[in-house]
């Protein structure tokens, strides 16, 4: 990781990129709060000018990105075009046609020189991954197993977290702990109890503490900063201890040392630290309990009067249909599996369907029209390979059909096809599905609320978007596909919109579920 820069220009740029570290944020705040010493352009003015220019440049870019397609008025976007309009485009339509010409000319000259956005490579700032966790309680930002971790603080209130650094070191952290990832080979810890395994490839892995630095030369060790005299225990191999204000001391297998003002030697005690086996055992137990809890609590939903469909994907081995468990919707038949492989779901023993190939889908039929709908699914996204990645899509797109999907840029979208003279509309979240979320189980829910006249989207039980629904009319699930789409009209070819991922639960209600109910389903 780069060192903390004191240059205001650099700090402002980091703010504009939304990648300020906490230390940088603290420094920039301090600089902004200092009284101006007669400079021509005090820092706060500079920052606001930079921010304003940044916004304008983004707007010019946004206009460029929409300037090649047909001009669309915002109140009636077609389903097959962008739902979010550009104000610049609108304004241009209204009054500034000359600007479009200028922008197009400029864009043409400009964009010929460099690769298009579609060709741009995704990048990540992550340096480690949270490989496993047991009973994790976080203070501040929370992380789930499978999450890539970028440099910054992890504040663990309780539980066991296993962190694998990209260079190969593996840290088992016991809460309460305050642990900062610095780079793929370095961390800083002010509180907590941790054990570290450093394979030969990660030799030189370093942990800084307020009482000194530990440099590992390829070994296993434990560090306890929760006792008054912080303790270092070497279980295997060799460790360098650079205690504050003291010369470097090498420590070998079986040796321990306090890190206080006086370094006192003692015998290392491996049993006092959580081992990888401990994590394995506790993870397995935690997963077993979670699965049992799901098995016992989910059937209560089956009697819910508004439940149209509940697929739990626990159907017998070899079956090619998915039973609909909604007992009060006998007219809604089972789903029919086309393609798709069976795979493991959220927990060992939980089954799921993997959607991978172009043809993979579950064919459904949900009769009737509904003013209110709630769609819920547990999914794991492998990648967003298509412009539209289907979760649940009604056949065709007309007469109140609904399309629940993820766009290539990671937005969860509910498209509602127009009817009775009302236009089709898409209702999007901001981009949620970044590559760093791929591979993690997520609970998605989307609500069509005719009373509030809005569409609400939820991720893992939390509302992530609320979009006005301008014209309320009954929607129609009808014949539909999970994980794919059939355009319902063409016989020669069909657009490819298959989902790349795994699903292990799907529910459709003909009413608006409350926030509490959605949060309960997401647990």
């Amino acid at each position: 990781m780069s060192e903390l820069s004191h240059d205001p220009e650099v700090l402002i740029q980091h703010y504009l990129e939304d990648r300020l570290t906490e230390d940088e944020a603290a420094l920039l705040l301090e600089l902004l709060q200092k009284p101006a010493l007669g400079e021509a352009d005090p820092l706060h003015e500079k920052l606001l000018h930079q921010l304003s220019m940044d916004a304008m440049l983004r707007e010019v870019k946004a206009a460029a990105s929409t300037s090649t397609g047909p001009v669309i008025l915002p109140a009636a976007p077609s389903a097959k075009t962008k739902a979010r309009f550009s104000f610049t485009t609108l304004t241009s339509v209204a009054a500034v046609a000359a600007c479009i010409t200028l922008a197009l000319t400029w864009l043409f000259v400009f964009t010929r020189q460099l690769p298009s956005m579609a060709d741009a490579e995704d990048t990540t700032a992550a340096v480690a991954v949270l490989s496993r966790g047991v009973n994790l309680e976080w203070q501040g930002e929370s992380h789930t197993p499978g999450s890539p971790l970028s440099p910054g603080w992890l504040r663990l209130e309780s539980g066991l977290a296993q962190i694998e650094f990209y260079q190969g070191a593996r840290v088992t952290l016991e809460g309460p702990a305050a642990f900062r990832l610095v780079s793929s080979s370095q961390a800083y810890c002010t509180a907590g109890k941790l054990s570290v395994h450093v394979p030969p490839q990660a030799k030189g892995f370093r942990i800084d503490t307020p009482k000194g630095t530990i440099v590992d030369l390829g070994t296993d060790f434990g560090l306890d900063l929760n006792v008054p005299t912080a303790e270092l225990h070497v279980f295997k191999g060799e460790v360098e201890l650079h205690a504050t204000g003291a010369a470097m001391k090498p420590l070998y297998e079986g040796q321990g040392m306090t890190l206080g003002d006086e370094n006192q030697a003692f015998t290392a005690n491996q049993a006092a630290f959580a081992s990888l086996n401990t994590v394995d055992e506790r993870t397995a137990e935690s997963q077993r309990l979670a699965f049992e809890s799901w098995l016992s609590s989910r059937p209560e939903w089956n009697n819910e009067a508004s439940l149209q469909m509940r697929l739990d994907f626990q159907d017998p081995v070899g079956t090619r249909s998915l039973r609909n468990h909604a007992v009060k919707a006998p007219q809604v038949p089972a789903g029919s599996i086309v393609g798709c492989d069976w795979t493991e779901g959220r927990w060992p023993g939980k089954r799921a369907l993997e959607f991978r190939n172009v043809s993979d889908r579950v064919r459904l039929s949900i009769p009737g029209e509904h003013e209110a709908i709630t769609l819920c699914a547990w999914v794991r996204v492998h990648g967003l390979d298509r412009p539209f990645n289907s979760l649940f899509m009604a056949e065709g797109y007309a007469d109140g059909a609904i399309h629940w999907q993820i766009t290539r840029d990671g937005k969860l979208r509910l498209g509602i096809a127009g009817r009775d003279g009302h236009p089709s509309r898409d209702h999007d979240t901001p981009a949620l599905f970044k590559p760093e979320r791929f591979g993690q189980w997520m609970h998605l829910a989307t609500v069509i609320d005719p009373v509030a006249k809005e569409i609400r989207h939820y991720l893992n039980g939390e509302e992530v978007a609320r979009v006005p629904w301008l014209h309320v009319f009954p929607v129609r699930p009808g014949l539909a596909d999970l994980g794919n789409w059939n355009d319902g009209g063409r016989s020669d070819r069909v657009a490819i919109r298959n989902f790349s991922g795994t699903m292990d639960e799907f529910m459709l209600f003909s009413r608006v579920l409350t926030e509490q109910e959605i949060a309960k389903l997401a647990r």
Partner: protein
């Protein structure tokens, strides 16, 4: 669209640079202004039948924009570490006290002209960062520069563009970056 809807949309368009100015004032977070303006438009249109379009819409739009800005600001900043939130709040206060451009759209139009006059190197930088969405660390790697140098260079290009816009506003005619 009925006549009232069309009229409402047209009136909104004539005010949308005003909306953006207000958005930037109350939510100076990178990339948030456009989201706010779009959300205000949607909410304005959702209730269009309630509005008396013969009245001055500025007070109404200012209030709507402020509410939307505060909401999106909260959503965007609430997950950030405490010190980042403090910084963001401080910047918001500074923005509220400042006089941001009242004619946003006009400045954007001038900006297009200024961009065309940038030297090749600066142009390439803007292209990479804004058009290709490449972050400064990756640009640094690509251009074999230090990441901090790229940050400073971007900052200076933006300063130059601002000067160019101001020159055009004050003097009229062609300005050179």
């Amino acid at each position: 669209m009925n006549t009232h809807e069309t009229r409402a949309a047209q009136l909104f368009l004539t005010h949308h640079d005003f909306v953006k100015g207000v958005a930037l004032k109350y939510a100076p977070w990178p990339g948030l202004m456009e989201d706010i303006a779009q959300q205000v438009f949607l909410e304005f249109m959702a209730k269009e039948e309630r509005w008396d379009l013969e009245n001055d819409l500025c007070p109404l739009l200012a209030t709507m924009t402020r509410h939307v800005a505060m909401r999106l600001w909260r959503d965007r900043t609430k997950s950030r570490p405490e010190v980042v939130q403090k910084l963001a709040d401080h910047i918001r206060l500074l923005a509220e006290e400042s006089e941001l451009p009242p004619r946003y759209e006009e400045e954007v139009a001038l900006l297009r002209g200024c961009l065309q006059k940038l030297p090749e190197k600066s142009r390439e930088l803007i292209q990479l960062y804004y058009y290709s969405d490449i972050g400064t660390p990756q640009i640094a790697e690509q251009m074999e520069m230090k990441a901090d140098t790229v940050c400073r260079a971007l900052s200076r290009v933006r300063d130059k563009l601002r000067e160019c816009i101001q020159r055009q506003i004050q003097q009229g005619g062609v300005a050179h970056v």
